[in-house]
């Protein structure tokens, strides 16, 4: 309960401070629209030459793109800003301020920042996804909608865990930002279903950086069919990653000496 209130307070503070920069809303809108436009151009080029891409039809691929934008928006709203701040704090020794607070340190460092203007991607992605679903012949039950929400949540938690582990690397390697560069570009590969990639890339996108679970699986749940087995597997992997990242965080903390110490 305390943590829920903490979350709420951090969220409010971020929203208030972001509202000071309302121009950023338009800057973000412009950027998101350009990115969406480029994605649509690429897709229309693909479908001017073929009817399906490795078994995926156009509405199905649009659904993948919609989910990719939605999840990307979530990452940029919550996960990325918090992890960037964590790395910065470790580099500069200001993590002390978070550690000395009378609450769980991992909870605090995970919810300190919210970039609310990035939520524009959530809206744009939902529009794309909604349009894609309307083009599909399958009808959507509440069960698949629920499964979709669960799949996005699980995928988000997995990405959070992996990102946390990479950021914790900053306790040893100060220049951890370079790893994150790779994450960013690998995430772009999630715009297409991971099944089209050759084995080595597919496995990287499934088990090293779980983009397959965060983007392709939710899209599949909606656009193709609900696969209970995959969802259960995702649940298991999420729990595992959360536990491992928690342990790794505690292990990393023991190597943190602080700036003043």
């Amino acid at each position: 309960m305390v943590y829920l209130r903490l979350f709420w307070i951090f969220l409010r503070v971020s929203v208030i401070s972001e509202f000071q920069y309302r121009v950023n809303f338009f800057v973000q809108l412009f950027q998101s629209a350009l990115a969406l436009g480029t994605g649509l151009v690429a897709m229309s080029l693909v479908f001017s030459y073929t009817q399906n891409l490795a078994g995926w039809t156009q509405p199905e691929l649009l659904a993948v793109m919609g989910v990719h934008i939605i999840v990307g928006g979530l990452i940029k709203t919550v996960i990325q800003p918090n992890m960037n701040r964590l790395i910065e704090d470790i580099q500069e020794g200001t993590l002390d301020f978070a550690l000395t607070k009378p609450a769980d340190a991992q909870a605090i460092i995970s919810v300190r920042e919210f970039r609310i203007w990035q939520l524009i991607d959530l809206v744009l992605g939902s529009v794309v996804l909604g349009y894609a679903i309307s083009q599909l012949s399958t009808s959507l039950g509440w069960l698949s909608a629920l499964a979709f929400a669960a799949a996005v949540l699980l995928g988000g938690l997995m990405i959070y865990s992996v990102w946390l582990m990479l950021s914790v690397g900053a306790f040893w390697i100060i220049r951890a930002d370079n790893f994150l560069e790779i994450f960013d570009s690998l995430y772009q590969a999630g715009r297409w279903p991971v099944s089209i990639y050759p084995g080595w890339l597919k496995h990287t996108l499934t088990f090293v950086l779980p983009i397959a679970f965060a983007v392709t699986l939710p899209a599949e749940t909606l656009a193709r069919q609900l696969n209970g087995q995959n969802l259960l597997f995702a649940l298991g992997l999420t729990v595992l990653l959360l536990v491992v990242s928690r342990l790794f965080w505690r292990f990393g903390l023991r190597h943190y000496t602080g700036a003043s110490a």
């Binding site: 121009v23 800057v27 412009f30 950027q31 350009l34 436009g37 480029t38 151009v41 690429a42 080029l45 693909v46 001017s48 030459y49 073929t50 399906n52 891409l53 490795a54 220049r175 370079n178 790893f179 560069e181 790779i182 960013d184 570009s185 690998l186 772009q188 590969a189 715009r191 297409w192 089209i196 990639y197 050759p198 890339l201």
Partner: protein, 268 residues
């Protein structure tokens, strides 16, 4: 002239040495940049295979050749982004550079040239790996293809460098410029041959991009290497590079004195 040559040699030497200190960071960065072309390559290779082996004249093998050369051209193409001007002007760093008796563009140029030396060394093993995985098919028709490719590669870099430097000067007049640059880079992505070879694009897009600088700095050197161009087409491309160098260089020479005056007027 000799004075400039000496300057370049000295700057190149010191810059290369200092860049090699960050080789691991460079390598990570380079690896991150490989994802984009690999994604394009997989998508278009898949389509080519499913369409009976050929899309607009490209097979899976020529797509591989295109996008592997892409990785080199992309590295060679890296130039000062116009965003850097925002930093220089807002933080007043330009003041130091203006104190020197040589135009600041030469310092940028030699810095980016030194970067190429470092990245080519790191790029070679990665390119070998991509070659082995994707089995590219190059068409080698004439001896001049190799010198023409090197020339086109260098020309592409200088052209893009000058265009971006000229664009960066907008910052002296407008403070919120990121939208302009963002738009420029999106157009470049679509019309340069970075997203797809221009042969894939509809005819009207190709007609437009003929008259813009983008394709001459990116798709053109790649096409020379892959071997899809005839002799006259290569000559035409090199001429277009020269034209755009002159245009961008001319704008630079004309606008720069005004921009500098503007800078001192803003204060700092």
């Amino acid at each position: 002239m000799k004075q400039h040559l000496d300057l370049y040699l000295t700057l190149l030497k010191t810059s290369i040495i200092s860049q090699f200190q960050y080789r691991v960071a460079h390598l990570f960065w380079l690896l991150a940049m490989m994802v984009e072309p690999v994604v394009y390559l997989v998508v278009w290779g898949t389509i080519a295979t499913s369409q009976g082996g050929n899309v607009a004249g490209y097979t899976a093998g020529t797509f591989a050749a295109y996008y592997i050369t892409w990785t080199l051209v992309r590295q060679m193409n890296i130039a000062l982004t116009p965003y850097a001007f925002e930093n220089r002007i807002r933080k007043g760093r330009l003041s130091n550079e203006l104190m020197r008796p040589i135009h600041p563009i030469h310092f940028d140029m030699s810095y980016f040239m030194s970067l190429k030396v470092v990245t080519i060394v790191l790029w070679l093993p990665i390119a070998g790996l991509l070659w082995w995985v994707f089995q590219p098919v190059f068409t080698f028709t004439a001896w001049w293809q190799i010198p023409a490719f090197i020339l086109a590669l260098l020309g592409g870099f200088v052209t893009r460098f000058l265009c971006l430097w000229a664009l960066g000067l907008v910052t002296f007049w407008v403070t919120k410029v990121s939208a302009v640059f963002e738009l420029y880079f999106t157009i470049e992505l679509l019309l340069s041959g970075r997203l797809v070879p221009l042969a894939i694009m509809p005819a009207w897009v190709r007609d437009i991009s003929q008259w813009l600088p983008f394709q001459w700095t990116f798709g053109f050197p790649i096409d020379v290497a892959v071997g899809t161009l005839t002799g006259p087409q290569v000559a035409w491309g090199l001429a277009m590079q020269a034209v755009w160098m002159l245009i961008a260089g001319g704008i630079l020479a004309l606008v720069w004195p005004h921009a500098v005056r503007r800078y001192s007027a803003v204060g700092a």
